[in-house]
């Protein structure tokens, strides 16, 4: 995208030239048409947009407020799908053990799961980019020590690192985010360091150095924008991974507290009723979780194919 903007600056802009631009294939347009070649990926993208909108407008869309203790009644507990609650509202997907309407609980749960997943992903990306770029630019001893730390952390499975952190930190939204950030930052750091080391040797950086630009300008205006493509790919995959990991930790009773029921927590709550055949409490939040993770992965998979310069025609 940056390359596109730079091109635009070189060409003189006039009213007559505007027409010429229409047919020009900018990198962004090429990216868009490449991406749309896979129907599955487009479907995944549409689903992600829909899910995000549902999460953002949860208070408007949910038929009932699952947190409002005045309306939630234990007498409504474990109603089957389609049965009517005391308040007269039909619970289309049934109610959970505490008498919350599953549709509403899932919409709010989706909000929490997405929020924690994306939030931790963004923070981890910022930390990872800073450390990775610094490591690549500093080089030498600092670089080898930092990358050793990254290697050691990545040699432990994510679930184990998250377990250790949450056992020591305890439950809570903030603590879950800290654990997820800690698990993810190393992937970003390693990826961007690799890309930055390659990009650094390119001619445009050399010419920027020759022009006498400041280091800060070179790093942030020239080096960073050209390292973004692999970050987007890693970022999408990591968000899906974070959502799945958060759900797993909440299921184990470690991640989100009972007062902030994410999808994983809802599934875990339903698990106690599964043996008595009350499937809906676990199954429906699970399907919501699944659709979210699979569509993010589909988009991420396609992004990797499209943004990988080696595969470009």
């Amino acid at each position: 995208m940056t390359v596109a903007q730079e091109n635009l600056e070189i060409v003189p802009r006039g009213a007559d030239d505007a027409a010429k631009f229409e047919g020009v294939q900018t990198p962004f347009r090429r990216f868009l048409s490449d991406f749309c070649e896979s129907k599955l990926a487009v479907l995944g993208f549409v689903v992600i947009v829909a899910i995000t909108l549902v999460a953002i407008f949860a208070p408007v869309l949910a038929p009932t407020d699952p947190y409002d203790l005045a309306t939630v009644s234990v007498l409504d507990g474990r109603l089957g799908p389609g049965e009517a609650m005391m308040s007269g509202v039909t619970a289309h997907l049934g109610t959970d053990g505490a008498g919350r309407d599953m549709v509403s609980a899932m919409i709010y749960g989706l909000r929490i799961s997405l929020g924690v997943g994306i939030g931790s992903g963004v923070i981890a990306m910022l930390i990872g980019i800073s450390v990775g770029l610094f490591s690549a630019y500093a080089g030498g001893r600092i670089d080898s020590v930092l990358m050793r730390v990254v290697d050691i952390q990545l040699s432990f499975p994510a679930i184990l690192v998250a377990l250790i952190l949450l056992v020591t930190l305890g439950k809570g939204v903030d603590k879950t985010i800290i654990a997820l950030v800690f698990v993810q930052w190393a992937y970003y750091a390693r990826t961007i360091r690799g890309t930055a080391l390659v990009e650094r040797r390119r001619e445009y950086i050399e010419s920027a150095v020759c022009l006498g630009l400041s280091e800060r300008r070179i790093i942030f205006r020239h080096l960073l924008p050209n390292c973004i493509a692999p970050m987007i790919v890693v970022g999408t995959m990591q968000v899906a991974h974070a959502i799945s990991l958060e759900a797993t930790l909440s299921f184990l009773g470690l991640g989100m507290p009972q007062t902030e029921p994410s999808l994983g927590r809802l599934i875990s709550n339903g698990f106690e009723y599964i043996m008595s055949g009350k499937y809906w409490i676990s199954v429906y939040p699970g399907i919501a979780l699944l659709v979210t993770i699979v569509s993010i992965n589909l988009v991420g998979d396609r992004l990797r194919d499209v943004l990988n310069p080696r595969l470009q025609k």
Binding site: P157, L169, T248, F271, M275
Partner: protein, 325 residues
Amino acid sequence: MSVFIIRRLLQAGLVVVVMSFIVFSGVFMVGDPVEILVSDDADQEERERIIQSMGLDKPFIVQYGLFVAKALQGDLGESFVFNEPALLLILDRMPATMELAVVALLIAVVFGIPLGVWAGLRPDSLASKSIMTGSILGFSLPTFWVGIMMILLFAVYLGWLPSTGRGDVQVILGMPISVLSWDGFSHILMPAVNLALFKLSLVIRLARAGTREVMHQDYIKFDRAKGLSDARIILIHVLKNIMIPVVTVLGLEFGGLVAFSVVTETVFAWPGMGKLLIDSIGQLDRPVIVAYLMIIVFLFVFINLIVDILYSLLDPRVRLQDVKA
């Protein structure tokens, strides 16, 4: 070579020390075990006596020092709940976890390699495409949810398989084993498949990529020219060559299986170390939590050390690069 090994040993030692400090100080700060262990009607004197007997009155750094000194002698403290040494409790449950992990690994290899080779030989057939889509699902689906769905289908609706516990065990060489009796086998089947799904997808992908690469090699063309049958080419020449990456990755992933069994054990109430950890967290049984985390960290550092050394033996560039840096 010895410089490389010494460096790696020192590094492994450092990781263990740092982790022990993090784990101990973290667990130290969580909750107050006295509240749970001392009954409500105990008087102040009784409370004091229990706090003293557990060493909880001493400053943090002294407690850590005592913990390290004892840990070096193989004593990781006594469980507050079971009144047994934490190390013994964990070692007691380790065979169950190991059996689960090994059976899961076997399932991943026995089913993953044929499926992957098939998908690699005919990449455009419908069967191969469904295998690959299945492997994407295997990567995306959260393990615990798949486990719950398996219980719902096979235990609740169909009633074919039991959903909890280990079933009959036979003691062989001092280790209780489930797979040998029908009852035990029916108990281990669901948890093992559940734990295997992720690795199965991994093996399928590795085997497929390996097969596609090997099929273009000159020695396969030569085999064809010699007039060898397809079966012989695939079973001997292809299989042998794709096994190298598969075995390497699986060796590395075994630790991951043990760590991930925490989830599967919780879903299927499998009496292993992972379930013990989750139970102990619920009961704030600090010594057991600390002992489990230390053992698993130790296990990982050990596996990584072995893999590093093996790699450096196989590929000298690794250790040369490391010594230079």
